[in-house]
């Protein structure tokens, strides 16, 4: 039985900051330069990365086994929702508060250092624990940090992870296994994914330029976003979820965008709305030719007229497993900050040279606003390796 699914609180940490207010402000700051050039991640090359530059909290005493950068980013994101989670524990009991926290990297960076040390000395470094590398370590860590006793597990489906974690949280509520769920995803920069994407020729030597004729690939990023999801009505809610599989290729999307189209359409059907009701679309928008092509074709088929849309990856980087949660968090902030029937939407930062070979999307320009009235819906796309697609629709009652 499908009940209300409120996104009651949000916390995040990314290249634009670790406080929701900071991130919201910097989304519109044309002078913000969230990328850093690093030569220590990809072998023999300098590449742009969108990294978390805020100070990160230390791993709490007693939880050292979970100690890795990924979990410190998770903890930073958790800080903003901690009061809401504590209130949920008070109201429902700790055993009724669950966790679905995803990642595509977990603590791979720490495992890289551990294997290097093992190569040198034949022993793993003291302090390294498999819990840092296990995906399940991310969800366990958050359960421990929050003192949560409900079901707790990790989800990992490459770049659709963060979106799917919210879908799973909704199912746990609908099954009445929880009254509140901490859900989201976190990823951290590491040499493994950086070299892997470089090997696939997916990394851009410049700032990523999605939907441009001059696009040259993606920039990797890191960060995380966590929501407290509850069964309460009202506020900002998860109104629709669409999931599909491409059945096409392990590391490339279906060029015809069939899976992406199915994902968006399923989300609309789930929310019981028509495409004209979508006020804004946050594109997956990685800036690779394959993504831009298939996503714009799919959007063109689902929407009779393109909604205002943008990719926020030129600002946050492609945060892989965290992208679906982080971009949902940005959508949440847009809905939260609607004033006087106007929604401010983040501009699509690129060089302005459209790829004329693709269906034309209504890319948001600097200063663009969207007029809204009553219930407002925004959509976010996430399409991952292995052809794993997930589209979310968030709703504000206005």
């Amino acid at each position: 039985m499908r009940g209300p699914c409120r996104l009651a609180a949000v916390g995040l940490s990314c290249s634009l900051g670790s406080r929701p207010g900071d991130v919201w402000g910097r989304l519109f700051d044309a002078s913000a330069e969230p990328l850093s050039l690093r030569d220590d991640l990809v072998r023999g090359k300098s590449r742009h990365f969108a990294q978390v530059t805020d100070s990160l909290p230390e791993i709490p005493s007693g939880l050292e086994r979970y100690g890795c950068r990924n979990n410190r980013i998770a903890l930073r994101a958790y800080e903003a929702i901690r009061p809401a989670v504590d209130a949920a524990i008070e109201r429902y009991g700790a055993h009724r508060v669950g966790v679905v926290a995803g990642s595509s990297t977990a603590g791979v960076a720490e495992a890289e250092a551990a294997v290097l040390e093992w190569r040198r000395s034949g022993t793993l470094p003291e302090g390294f624990d498999l819990l840092q590398l296990e995906y399940g370590g991310v969800s366990e860590f958050l359960s421990e940090v929050g003192g949560l006793g409900g079901p707790s597990y990790a989800l990992s489906t490459a770049c659709s992870t963060g979106a799917k974690a919210l879908a799973s949280a909704r199912r746990l509520l609908d099954m009445n296994l929880c009254d509140a769920v901490v859900a989201g995803a976190v990823d951290s920069l590491c040499a493994l994914t950086a070299n892997g994407f470089e090997g696939l020729k997916a990394l851009s030597p410049e700032r990523t330029n999605p939907m441009s004729a001059n696009r040259a690939g993606l920039n990797l990023g890191e960060g995380g976003a966590l929501f407290l999801v509850t069964r309460e009505p009202g506020g900002i809610s998860l109104a629709g979820v669409g999931e599909s599989s491409d059945a096409h290729h392990i590391s490339a999307p279906d060029p015809a965008g069939v899976g992406a189209e199915a994902s968006m359409q399923a989300a609309l059907d789930d929310a019981s709305i028509s495409s004209e009701q979508i006020a804004y679309l946050n594109l997956h928008g990685t800036g690779t030719r394959q993504n831009d092509q298939m996503e714009s074709i799919a959007v063109d088929r689902v929407f009779r007229a393109s909604p205002p849309c943008s990719s926020t990856k030129p600002l946050l980087g492609h945060t892989l497993g965290a992208a679906g949660a982080l971009e949902a968090a940005l959508c949440w902030l847009m809905l939260e900050n609607c004033v006087d029937g106007t929604m401010r939407v983040p501009p699509h930062r690129y060089d302005g040279i459209r790829d004329e070979g693709l269906p034309s999307l209504d890319l948001v320009g600097d200063g663009d606003m969207v007029a809204v009235e009553g219930a407002t819906y925004v959509m976010s796309n996430s399409f991952g390796f292995g052809g794993s697609n997930c589209t979310l629709i968030l709703r504000s009652d206005g």
């Binding site: 039985m1 499908r2 072998r43 055993h95 595509s104 495992a111 890289e112 551990a114 294997v115 290097l116 093992w118 190569r119 793993l124 390294f128 498999l130 819990l131 590398l133 296990e134 995906y135 399940g136 370590g137 969800s139 366990e140 006793g149 079901p151 707790s152 597990y153 990790a154 989800l155 990992s156 489906t157 490459a158 799917k164 799973s168 199912r171 746990l172 609908d174 099954m175 296994l177 493994l192 070299n195 892997g196 090997g199 696939l200 999931e243 599909s244 599989s245 491409d246 059945a247 096409h248 290729h249 392990i250 590391s251 069939v258 199915a262 991952g384 390796f385 292995g386 052809g387 794993s388």
Partner: protein, 243 residues
């Protein structure tokens, strides 16, 4: 809903390749073997070449649990504590040795590798989810599968729970050492005709050491007469019941 009907199941571990093997093992369970993978000759050669040990084990049990013509319509849930761990460890060694990463190995190191390969093989365009939950990975997979059934009661769910042996140098850090795969075909009560009803309850945790991963303890229980299976963990105990 926390109930599903098991309409079919299949399991594979090195040396335990059919029901008779598992029945003998269940009477006198011994530690699972670490190495070996099925031949998966039913897969096209191109796809077979892309499969690591974990993918081969998963495809073997999927092949046994469901007729090929039905595979395209299933919701799928893949649960694995470590995923393609051998492949991942190979990439970590390549980095440590300053070698280039193989694009093919990298593409197949994501946790949803088996889900992606399954979708391509079965031409399945339905939703698919991949979870991990440490020692409670089996329970995580069950909850996802039950959730999928609750959302779409008319559509059968394929739950695959599998892990490779933990490779060096990480094997000293983990108790789960053997390789295995389990596939369950699950239906809602409304859409099933026959099968084993399975329900799940969560109870208070207890500290107790178990000899096998939960999914392997479950296989043994499935072949025996007991009504209840308790899977104890420090944070919670999973209580499975056949009604």
């Amino acid at each position: 809903m926390n109930e599903a009907i098991i309409t079919s199941w299949a399991a594979w571990s090195p040396g335990l390749t059919n029901r008779d093997d598992w029945a003998r093992w269940a009477l006198n369970p011994t530690a699972l073997e670490r190495s070996g993978a099925p031949e998966v000759e039913f897969l096209p050669a191109m796809q077979r070449r892309r499969c690591d040990a974990l993918s081969r084990m998963c495809f073997q049990v999927i092949h046994e649990v469901c007729p090929p013509e039905d595979l395209g319509d299933l919701t799928s849930v893949f649960a694995s504590r470590h995923g393609s761990f051998g492949n991942m460890t190979g990439l970590l060694f390549a980095l440590a040795d300053s070698r280039a990463l193989s694009p093919n190995s990298f593409s197949h190191s994501v946790h949803n590798t088996q889900a992606g390969l399954f979708s391509i093989w079965a031409q399945n365009r339905v939703a698919s989810t991949c979870v991990a939950g440490g020692a409670e990975t089996f329970g995580a997979g069950l909850l996802e599968a039950f959730g999928a059934l609750a959302t779409q009661p008319e559509r059968a769910v394929l739950l695959v729970v599998a892990d490779e042996a933990v490779p060096e140098p990480f094997d000293s850090l983990c108790d789960d050492k053997g390789a295995y795969a389990l596939a369950l075909l699950l239906r809602s009560r409304e859409s099933a005709s026959g099968g084993t009803p399975l329900s799940v309850q969560l109870e208070r945790g207890v500290v107790e050491t178990s000899m096998f991963p939960d999914a392997v303890a479950f296989i043994r229980w499935l072949m025996g007469p007991e009504r209840l299976l308790r899977l104890p963990h420090p944070r919670r105990t999973w209580v499975l019941e056949r009604s």
